[in-house]
Symmetry: C2
Subunit: 407 residues, 2 copies
């Protein structure tokens, strides 16, 4: 597997565009289009929140019922959530306008929105935006990057990833982009993420690969514990790599899974590290757990703990809060048996052992915790399973951003 530069336009036959449609932001791109020259098989996972945004309801239907997808229209600024029947009709109107402009089937268009909840979309501006997006779509990497910038809300960095693998002598490319900074605690899937590939793969197998992978990638990040109304991951495969179709339980499927995992994990980590107000990516690795599920629950409890997140911001080796979070996670374990370590580029130290503090230097701990990527390793000493979760520190800026997001 080779990591390459690029995003949703990295794979063959995919184009993208961005435009300043004036949905809510001024003087910046706020609509994006992903388009495939050929129809794509589709897979998607969506929020588990019972309050589902209109685009989530719309896309679920497309993913389940349409044989193919060929375009995704995304807007930032307004989430089209809690907007009732009117909001849903804007999804239909968006898809219709895009299908006409692109001369493709109406049920091959997906839509996604991100931003404030409860406001209606200005559908006239959406429709004029679609026209410009269609005219401006291009297949170069720069077009993908512009699209990834257009879907940002409180994000401070655009988020893209791309890899290439060889399948039976053909080069298969996967690329993706995502956005997400607050209301990030995906459950089935993350805020908005889009992965494109030119692989030849069936809808069933693509769906399986996606479902298997999100539990260890997008579902393992959290910024603030709030599972959004709009969480959406869409994966489009247009088959233009012309590889022999990827079959289940084959080495080719493993290679594809690994590539998909690399894209999903990279995007998920970028989202966690760019959490609202964050100054650090906060990773928790649980090792030697009795089950995979236990490992996941424990890792996620630590990266979700407000107190631990605030301590990470303060570069404070307050391991008691980590132990506390593990303790209330719901997993049963013997606190006297486990061991804790901090690690980062600046080094690695043991901080807890045999039920009490390990003998470590606070100065060294602070040095390790002052890096932009910080890891807690939790050794459960009780099995062979492991899991990793990613979050960020809790800062003044998180409060600032969210105390008055709407104005």
């Amino acid at each position: 597997m080779k990591k390459i530069t690029g995003g949703v336009t990295a794979a063959k036959g995919f184009q993208a565009a961005a435009v300043a449609a004036g949905i809510k932001y001024k003087d910046r791109d706020d609509m994006a289009l992903i388009y495939s020259e050929k129809p794509c098989v589709l897979a998607g996972t969506f929020t588990s929140n019972v309050v589902k945004a209109a685009p989530v309801l719309f896309d679920k239907k497309v993913v389940e019922e349409s044989p193919y997808g060929q375009a995704v229209v995304i807007n930032a600024g307004i989430a089209n959530a809690c907007t009732g029947r009117e909001g849903f009709s804007y999804c239909e109107q968006t898809a219709k306008a895009a299908a006409e402009a692109l001369s493709i089937s109406e049920n091959a268009v997906l839509v996604a929105s991100t931003g404030v909840i409860g406001m209606q979309l200005p559908i006239d501006r959406i429709v004029s935006g679609i026209k410009k997006l269609t005219e401006g779509k291009q297949g170069d990497l720069e077009a993908g990057t512009r699209a990834s910038r257009a879907i940002m809300t409180t994000d401070t960095k655009n988020k893209e990833a791309a890899v290439q693998i060889e399948i039976s002598g053909r080069t298969v490319t996967l690329g993706g982009m995502c956005k997400g900074s607050g209301m990030i605690h995906p459950n089935m899937c993350t805020m908005l993420a889009f992965v494109t590939t030119d692989a030849v793969i069936s809808k069933e197998l693509l769906t399986k690969a996606v479902k298997e992978d999100v539990v260890d990638t997008f579902n393992m990040i959290s910024v603030d514990g709030d599972t959004s109304t709009n969480d959406t991951l869409l994966v489009l495969a247009n088959g233009m790599a012309e590889n022999p179709e990827i079959r289940e339980n084959s080495p080719e499927y493993e290679a594809f899974r690994e590539a998909l995992h690399e894209i999903n994990e990279t995007l998920a980590k970028k989202m966690a590290g760019d959490g609202e107000g964050a100054t650090a990516l906060f990773e928790t690795k649980v090792i030697h757990a009795p089950s995979k599920q236990d490992a996941r629950i424990l890792a996620k409890a630590v990266i979700c703990s407000s107190l631990t997140k605030a301590a990470i911001y303060g570069h404070d080796a307050n391991w008691g809060r980590i132990l506390c979070a593990l303790g209330y996670s719901g997993v049963i374990f013997d606190p006297e048996k486990i061991e804790l370590f901090f690690e980062s580029k600046a080094g690695r130290i043991q901080i807890y052992k045999d039920g009490v503090a390990a003998d470590y230097s606070e100065e060294e701990a602070t040095k390790i915790l002052s890096e932009p990527e910080v890891t807690v390793v939790v050794d459960m000493k009780n099995g062979e399973e492991s899991a990793t979760a990613w979050g960020c520190d809790l800062t003044y800026d998180y409060v600032k951003i969210n105390a008055d997001y709407r104005s």
Copy 2:
């Protein structure tokens, strides 16, 4: 039921004391004693965290195995959590020293600690503190207040409550105190709370009353989602009111339950309102829910949502975040059916109805949200059950307090 001034010394026969023992703080009281002239029947609930502080393990045993309790020794500054066998032996030594100084049975002494996790107690200072506490103990209300101040950590206000009821012509008094400001998300019980009463009641019935009541009081508050290692509620009843013993399913039991509920709810609300960095008490009332359990889960999801808490701090009527929190709570409902209201001393407005924003004035909403006590009413329109949860807003000061608590 009559609300009266006072705390743990309000009921007959209870004394208290406070002393500056220099455990970790300087120039302030940091140890407290609650003492009953007569042995008390005991009830207690403790943290559900599998990482239990030494005093929790110690007190659980006393509550379960001792016929009576007569004294509680509490220290602030160090939590005696994650301190291994050494930490547990300090509980034993504390109880022994207190029993000797008070000339009571060693297994009638309970201990409680609050503060930083992972440090060992300076047992010599604890023992000299006990001597001074024993000498200084008094039965007036002021002694109870001094005790309630001595157990504060990041709390900004001491927290006491007391009520009187009549049982068969005898005046029965209940009083309590608690502390708690961060790491507050009780599950079975809160940080540290102590309730004393002179009622004549059996251990079994007292235990039943306490267990029934905490699910709607202490377990319905949250400051930061972190369930502490030290959560403890102890209730001591010394029988000195000389009422005929309170029997199950009697009007007297109902009166006692109501009085206990008043104390617990008052203390729980004080804790939520004094959450670390808080500027407002944030209450969520769920009404017309299909079950009590659903109502509790929904109410708690709203007061736990970081995004909603930040919006409350910003006096921002961001009802989408409330709906989002209800949606990921785990309770299934139809978002189009429910209704949302904001209320406070400044008024009441409907903010959400029929799946979309209600027609309200943002200016009025901001006025309502600018009060020190703010309520969200969630009308599920699908049953007869209700529940209330209490939290606080998320502020810069929460981050400030917790980014470097240990230094």
